[in-house]
């Protein structure tokens, strides 16, 4: 079975690399990290992930703008996006404007559950 491709766009390098190792450690995923929000669209087009994990507060461009760019590009617009951010806390998690929002810190178990719940059917 093909490994599911996950793209993490987040400026926190420690977080992205730990998440990459953790997800890949399950043997289920192939993960690409992108630490520059402004390169998010480009990496998404190139990597063609099954799901994107996106941060909100990044120094060069906000996660909301990256999501808009992705949704405007026909080659990646159908890729589901999950926001994982430190500006929310657990009680505020949920679906906001069609996007699931997860608060940091998040457990690996919970994150995998959310990834699986949001992956498109054909990749499941």
């Amino acid at each position: 079975m093909r490994k599911k491709r996950i793209l993490i766009i987040d400026d926190e390098e420690d977080f992205t690399s730990t998440l990459k190792v953790s997800l890949e450690g399950t043997g289920q995923y192939e993960v690409r990290e992108e630490n520059k929000g402004s390169r998010g669209l480009l990496t998404a087009k190139e990597f063609q992930p099954d799901l994107i994990i996106l941060d909100i507060i990044m120094p060069d461009i906000k996660g909301g703008d990256v999501a808009r760019q992705i949704k405007e590009d026909p080659s990646v617009k159908n890729i589901p996006i999950v926001f994982v951010t430190a500006i929310l806390y657990e009680s505020e998690e949920g679906i906001i404007g069609n996007y699931p929002f997860i608060a940091k810190p998040v457990t690996l178990e919970k994150l995998i559950q959310i990834i699986e719940g949001n992956l498109p059917n054909e990749s499941n």
Partner: protein
């Protein structure tokens, strides 16, 4: 007969001088001269031709001088009495002015304290969002790393498991602090709803039920039925009550009584409430939802009672309190244009008064 005449004249002259002062003394003294002569003449059967006899002069002069002396002394006495009254009035007015100034000074200090408090809250609010964000990011890395390590190897060593568990708990605790900081910075956003205050209290009490039980705290509810509804952010006011109830529980580690009461009162009903009119929060005649939370705990040391609403002020040991609980509480209450007061009770324990506006 001469001495009797002298006495007859001297007494009224002296009395007149004493009553009327120097001016009265002069008039009486001079009037006494012909009067004296007339009386002498009557008593001595002297010839009316001889009005002034030389031997009577010293007596008459003595009466005149005496009347002047008594008059002058009376004047001096009246003057000193007047001065004394003046001084008393001046003292009274000085005392009044002093107490007015004292009051104005106290008001000024209170206003200044409030301003400093507001400023502190404002800057802390801005800071809090940034700090929370910066703390939560590394926490996510630690959390994920711990999860990864826990799942990576079959860990049979009890000590390693214990350490991993402790680290996960530490992440949770740090996250709770960051959460409170975020909560604090998001204070400006409130969502008002028309609700019944008793329902919010009941809801908050159900959240601390376990804590009350654990601390062996007896709950006394005196919630007045049929209270008018009020507009408030239910979640935030519930947070306020939970904070107050938890603080009360922590102040009664060996058990005690927590009394929660609500009632509808007129601001004019209770003299102690009139100061909230001065604060501009309520108008005379306003009805208020009067909520009291009373505990029988250890109370708050007087030296710190003015600082309890300060952000980051806590008496709990390091790591057990953020020191934001009561400052968040105060901020929420202010956003509701309500008021909160926390005081020590004479009988012991703490009394928290919460005044809200009904609709």
């Amino acid at each position: 007969m001469g001495s009797a005449v002298s006495a007859l004249v001297t007494i009224p002259v002296v009395v007149t001088a004493y009553i009327l002062g120097l001016r009265g003394g002069i008039i009486a003294g001079f009037v006494s001269i012909p009067l004296n002569t007339i009386l002498y003449n009557i008593t001595d059967n002297s010839s009316w031709d001889v009005i002034f006899q030389q031997e009577r002069f010293p007596g008459m002069l003595a009466i005149l001088l005496l009347s002047l002396l008594v008059g002058r002394m009376r004047d001096l006495e009246m003057l000193s009495q007047y001065e004394l009254n003046q001084r008393r009035d001046a003292e009274k007015s000085l005392k009044r002015t002093h107490s007015n100034l004292q009051r104005a000074h106290n008001d000024l200090i209170a206003t200044q304290t409030q301003l400093i408090q507001a400023e502190k809250l404002e800057s802390v609010g801005t800071l809090a969002a940034g700090v929370a964000h910066e703390v939560k990011n590394p926490l996510s890395t630690i959390q994920l790393g711990l999860d990864f390590l826990s799942h990576q190897f079959p860990i049979t060593d009890e000590d390693i498991n214990k350490v991993l568990k402790n680290m996960k708990n530490a992440v949770k605790r740090a996250d709770a602090i960051a959460k409170e900081l975020l909560e604090f910075s998001a204070m400006r956003k409130i969502h008002m709803k028309t609700v019944q205050i008793n329902r919010v209290i009941e809801q908050s009490l159900s959240l601390v039920k376990h804590e009350l039980l654990k601390n062996n705290v007896t709950l006394v509810k005196e919630l007045s039925p049929n209270l008018p509804k009020t507009k408030l952010d239910q979640n935030k006011i519930s947070q306020v009550f939970v904070n107050l109830f938890l603080n009360a529980c922590h102040a009664m580690p060996y058990g005690g009584t927590l009394t929660v009461s609500t009632s509808l009162k007129s601001i004019n009903e209770d003299k102690t409430l009139s100061r909230y009119i001065k604060n501009g929060l309520f108008k005379p005649g306003d009805m208020i939802l009067y909520t009291e939370v009373i505990d029988t705990g250890t109370g708050i040391p007087e030296e710190i009672i003015t600082r309890i609403f300060d952000p980051f002020f806590t008496t709990k040991p390091t790591g057990q309190g953020t020191g934001l609980g009561l400052s968040v509480t105060k901020k929420i209450i202010e956003l509701h244009e309500a008021t909160i007061d926390i005081t020590n009770r004479e009988e012991g324990g703490v009394r928290t008064l919460l005044l809200l506006k009904p609709i």
